[in-house]
């Protein structure tokens, strides 16, 4: 007697596969279409049952035929379990079917939830790595040995100079030496600075990690006094002392390099060097700029230079900016805000002002 319940299934005779319908009878006899389309049957009692596939949700009924060829019937319709359980089967067979049915349900359920679960994992991973990343950058910047920083800076500095004209004028050089020397004396660190003036009309100055400073001839031309250039240098030098350049490099570098640094992997150095060529175009964030202003003011106060020179230079650039409509290079990477100007203008004057003994007009002539 047949339960008249048909299921779509596959019949495997060795490697040969036939698709057809599977019918279950009350006494656990299963009918199926054979290779020639004739109906054949197999008793459940003679077969082995298991779940296969990915996920393991397909019921496999397998046996060896008379020719000792492995045969199996596959059905992935979960309803087949209920039909099989309704048959008159031995208690052991019933309990095995129950176990398989429960396993099948579990597998199907976990498969259903797997994609959303993975999506959640991925999101959690990205969010947590973003937070770890933003907190680990300052830590990693501190972990970088000073020799690494010097190497990276010198590479970027050399790289930057290719294709650019470095101004080599005695007047300019001695003036810049004088400024750097004064600042170096009062910056509270052992770092020695190297400065070049490049021939470029844009108003710009920046420092690479390790104390390598670039000033454009445009900046010198736009400054009315040596003190204004000194103010810019004090600001840039603070970026070096606070290792802001290293931080922006690390932010650009990615988690892999960060991990490398934490574990002292030397290959991280070469990767950082490669990245350092982008240093002059990466911008600092607002808090780094404010730190650099504050640090610059401190150096200026110690070195006997009035912070008002920094404020006046900022204002001048701002006006220049409103006339031409262009943002000067220096503020593309160092965003200037009203707040910054106000903070600088409100800074205390040094106890004693020591003027630079220079003929600034002559220096300006030197860069023309």
């Amino acid at each position: 007697m047949s339960l008249e319940q048909n299921y779509k299934g596959l019949y495997y005779l060795g490697r040969e596969k036939y698709s057809g319908s599977i019918t279950v009878s009350t006494h656990g006899i299963i009918e199926f279409d054979d290779s020639e389309g004739n109906r054949e049957n197999i008793s459940l009692a003679k077969a082995t049952l298991d779940l296969i596939g990915d996920p393991e949700t397909t019921l496999q009924i397998s046996w060896n035929n008379e020719a000792k060829v492995k045969c199996s019937l596959l059905c992935h319709d979960p309803a087949i379990f209920d039909t099989l359980l309704a048959c008159h089967l031995l208690p052991e067979m019933q309990s095995q079917l129950h176990t398989l049915q429960n396993k099948q349900r579990q597998q199907a359920k976990s498969e259903k939830h797997r994609v959303p679960l993975y999506m959640t994992y991925i999101m959690v991973f990205f969010f947590s790595s973003y937070f770890i990343y933003s907190y680990s950058v300052p830590v990693a910047a501190k972990l970088i040995p000073y020799e690494w920083e010097k190497k990276i800076g010198s590479f970027a500095f050399e790289n930057y100079q290719t294709g650019k004209v470095v101004i080599d004028n005695a007047q300019v050089n001695s003036a810049m030496d004088m400024l750097v020397k004064r600042i170096d004396e009062f910056d509270g660190s052992d770092i020695s600075y190297e400065l070049i003036v490049i021939d470029a009309d844009m108003v710009n100055a920046f420092a690479f990690p390790g104390g390598y400073i670039v000033v454009t001839s445009g900046l010198i031309k736009s400054a009315e006094q040596a003190e204004e250039v000194a103010a810019v240098l004090c600001h840039e030098i603070t970026h070096v002392l606070e290792r802001h350049g290293m931080r922006k490099l690390l932010r650009q570098a990615g988690l892999g390099i960060l991990i490398g640094i934490v574990f002292g992997d030397v290959s991280a150095l070469s990767q950082l060097i490669e990245l350092s060529s982008q240093l002059d175009s990466l911008s600092f964030d607002r808090s780094q700029e404010e730190h650099a202003d504050d640090g610059g003011i401190k150096i200026m106060q110690a070195a006997g230079i009035s912070p008002q020179h920094m404020a006046s230079f900022f204002n001048k650039i701002k006006q220049l900016d409103s006339v031409t409509g262009d943002i000067p290079e220096i503020f593309r990477t160092h965003p200037l805000t009203e707040d910054r100007i106000k903070r600088v203008a409100a800074a205390d004057e040094p106890r004693q002002i020591v003027a630079f003994e220079l003929d600034w007009e002559k220096v300006k002539q030197g860069v023309k």
Binding site: D54, H76, R114, V115
Partner: protein
């Protein structure tokens, strides 16, 4: 609807003849030519979430294109972006297939495509990534590969070993495990095979005779660095 492969071999192209009212879905950008009776439309299979999931997870396109012969019989030519063979699978509803992410080219409308997440070991080491496509339903589906396509039929209880990154499509009934290529870890890696996939039958596995990551690393040595 007729699926026909023209120019078999490296530059296999799929030709689909559609009767009026018939439609197929295809990988976006796969269409080369089509009759004027055919309308092309884009559709997010399984809605926005399904489309986004597929885009984010399997790297497949957000939209599938639907080509409908709305004004009479029409033909469409399609191919994937890379050289390789195309194979046609006929699904009758009794079996589901799993496709690697670049494997799908086109399918009849009745075929359902969803994202399947593989487990951790498979995701990391199978070379197919964490997310693959699961195709089910009744109808024809065209799969494309990089290299030639070879079908391996595995008998019940039989196992076969396939190098990772070579699988294109496999029946969902045929589960596989990741294992090392030889007994020892050292010899597994020094043999150049590393990890392999051991498939357990019954089921069919379509493999590609070349793998794109392998080709990528081979060709890299000829690309001037600067």
């Amino acid at each position: 609807m007729k699926f026909n492969i023209i120019y078999p071999g490296a530059f296999s192209t799929l030709e689909v003849s559609l009767d009026e009212g018939e439609a197929i879905k295809a990988e976006s950008g796969a269409m080369i030519t089509m009759s004027e009776t055919v309308d092309v439309d884009s559709k997010m299979e399984r809605g926005l979430l399904g489309g986004l999931t597929r885009k984010l997870l399997t790297g497949e396109t957000l939209f599938f294109q639907t080509l409908t012969a709305s004004r009479g019989q029409g033909d469409v030519l399609m191919a994937s972006a890379y050289p390789g063979e195309i194979a046609i699978l006929e699904l009758d509803g009794s079996e589901e297939y799993i496709l690697q992410k670049d494997g799908f080219l086109a399918a009849e409308e009745s075929i359902e495509i969803s994202t399947k997440a593989q487990n951790l070991t498979k995701g990391l080491f199978s070379g197919e990534g964490f997310f693959v496509m699961r195709v089910s339903g009744k109808g024809k589906i065209a799969i494309s590969t990089y290299g030639g396509i070879h079908k391996i039929s595995i008998a019940p209880g039989e196992t076969t070993i396939i190098d990772n990154s070579h699988m294109v499509a496999w029946s969902a009934n045929a589960n596989y495990k990741i294992e090392k290529a030889s007994k020892g870890w050292v010899s597994s890696f020094t043999s150049g095979e590393g990890l392999v996939c051991r498939f357990q039958g019954p089921g069919d596995v379509y493999i590609q005779t070349r793998n794109s990551p392998g080709f990528g690393s081979w060709i890299r040595q000829f690309i001037p660095t600067r």
